[in-house]
């Protein structure tokens, strides 16, 4: 599904976050990206989500290069992804329901169909009863789950998660990982960046280790 060939990322100032990375993510797979802080995990996810362009190398999605995408195509590509981050990027002046509905509204969704999909997502992450609340009134763990609900509401083919359990206690972290595993079991390709090796060890999925911008 996703293939990185000799991909490097050099930031202005000369810091090379990724060097000649080769990486492959097959459809329906669940993969953990791990490594210390600064190893290049987040950079790799940003490149895959086209949040940043690579400095060199080739990035293929379903066999097609996405590095030459125009602005409009990039937006379209991002709509096909589910992205959740350590800081879940929520709109605090809108309700839980409205936050989750955003990707569907972008697709032109309307009325009952949106409501049905949003409630199904909220139910999956256990926030159905809090749909009218504002994100600020939720706990950190609930906010994280809200971010995940927003990432999966439009049934993306690829779910990208950057440190989704970074702010959570071990119990809650395990719950969230189980949630990702459930999505994977219904066919969603999942790519998670985390440095929590204990958590990774408890789940039997492929792990890719990054160190100093290189794949080990």
């Amino acid at each position: 599904m996703i293939q990185l060939n000799q991909v490097s990322k050099r930031y202005p100032g000369g810091f090379e976050a990724l060097s000649q990375v080769n990486f492959c993510l097959k459809s329906g797979e669940m993969v953990f990206l791990t490594g210390h802080s600064g190893a290049g995990k987040s950079t790799l996810l940003k490149l895959i989500a086209l949040l940043e362009p690579p400095s060199s190398g080739q990035l293929l999605v379903n066999g097609a290069s996405i590095t030459s995408f125009k602005k409009r195509d990039i937006a379209g590509y991002r709509r096909s992804l589910g992205i959740t981050l350590q800081s879940p990027y929520l709109l605090n002046d809108r309700s839980v329901f409205d936050n989750v509905a955003l990707p569907l509204l972008l697709q032109g969704g309307n009325g009952a169909w949106v409501a049905k999909r949003v409630r199904a997502s909220l139910d999956m992450v256990g926030l159905l009863l809090k749909e009218k609340m504002l994100p600020l009134h939720l706990s950190v763990g609930e906010q994280q789950r809200l971010g995940i609900a927003r990432a999966i509401v439009h049934k993306p083919a690829l779910l990208i998660a950057d440190e989704p359990t970074g702010n959570l206690d071990p119990g809650l972290s395990a719950d969230i990982m189980k949630l990702f595993e459930q999505f994977n079991q219904v066919g969603v390709t999942v790519l998670i960046a985390t440095h929590d090796l204990t958590l990774i060890a408890s789940m039997k999925h492929r792990m890719v280790m990054l160190k100093g911008g290189f794949v080990c």
Binding site: A75, R78, L81, I83, Y89, L91, L106, G108, N110, R150
Partner: protein, 310 residues
């Protein structure tokens, strides 16, 4: 296809209503911007309304706007009468009357200090005069009256012709100047409105920085994100124009008595100062266009600078 149209319409309705709600969320800031926009629109629009009202005045020259045709001397009475008849039949002439040289001299002698005038003159030097009162149609504009005047002054036996239209020419000159001034103000202050709305929306985008980031992160196009801001620009234009209409109305109500008084001095009757429906529509359309241009100019640049996950 129908589904796409529905989606398109619902997206626009959502953006339209969302932008209206955004205006209502910050009533004081909105009112301040709208007041500045309204004032910037009022000044040129007021000039436009005033000049338009002046141009449409029914000028009545019955009190001295006539044409005087001075005939050659000496001229026999049958020739004078024939010329009078020809003048009366000319298109654009309401009526014409002949004042003979003798009548003119009698009139002159009746004036103070001139009664013994003939003692110093060997003969009557005055020419016969035909006084011409043009029709209202012929007096409608200086061009039309000038056309009639030029036609009459080349008639045979007419030595000299005079037309008392200087004040009208001056008035039209002033009106043309004010019209040009209002057009320049409309452009100049229009640019100001673009800047005001542009800056207001630049701040709105800056305030909604996080929302823009989130929308970009989940795949919204710049056009989708910009849409509510563009509608916001249109709302600013529309409500600013409505504010300007209220201000113009207040000015017109205040100026109407003075305007009527000035017109009475020229024996012109008028219903007062009014703004036509066409002018109202033009002002609203112009203001909304300015709002849209200001929004587009500012928002597009601002959105290009915001990246998700920064």
């Amino acid at each position: 296809m129908l589904n796409k149209i529905n989606t398109f319409i619902s997206c626009h309705i959502r953006a339209l209503l969302g932008s209206l709600k955004a205006l209502c969320r910050t009533p004081i800031a909105t009112m301040m911007t709208l007041t500045v926009v309204a004032i910037a629109l009022t000044l040129p629009a007021l000039f436009w309304v005033l000049t338009n009202n002046m141009k449409q005045l029914p000028f009545n020259w019955s009190q001295g706007g006539h044409i005087s045709l001075y005939l050659h001397t000496p001229l026999a009475l049958p020739e004078e009468t024939a010329l009078l008849s020809r003048v009366q039949q000319t298109e654009g002439v309401l009526n014409a009357s002949l004042k003979s040289a003798a009548e003119g001299l009698t009139y002159l002698q009746q004036q103070d200090g001139l009664h013994d005038l003939l003692q110093y003159l060997p003969e009557n030097p005055l020419p016969a005069v035909i006084e011409v009162v043009p029709t209202e149609v012929a007096m409608a504009t200086p061009l039309k009256i000038a056309h009639l005047f030029n036609q009459l002054k080349i008639y045979p036996h007419v030595e000299q012709a005079k037309l008392d239209m200087q004040w009208v020419t001056r008035l039209y000159g002033i009106l043309t100047l004010v019209t040009k001034l209002s057009q320049m103000l409309l452009l100049f202050l229009g640019f100001t409105v673009v800047m005001i709305i542009g800056n207001t929306l630049r701040l709105a985008v800056h305030t909604g920085h996080k929302e823009v980031q989130v929308l970009k992160l989940i795949g919204a196009t710049d056009a989708y994100i910009a849409r509510p801001f563009l509608y916001l620009g249109l709302w600013f234009g529309l409500f600013g124009a409505m504010g300007a209409l209220i201000l113009i109305d207040l000015f017109l109500v205040g100026l109407t008595p003075l305007f009527r008084h000035v017109l009475m001095l020229y024996h012109i009757s008028s219903r007062g100062l009014v703004m036509s429906f066409y002018q109202v529509m033009c002002l609203i359309g112009w203001a909304m266009l300015l709002g849209f241009v200001g929004a587009r100019f500012s928002v597009n640049r601002q959105l290009a600078c915001i990246e998700p996950y920064a």
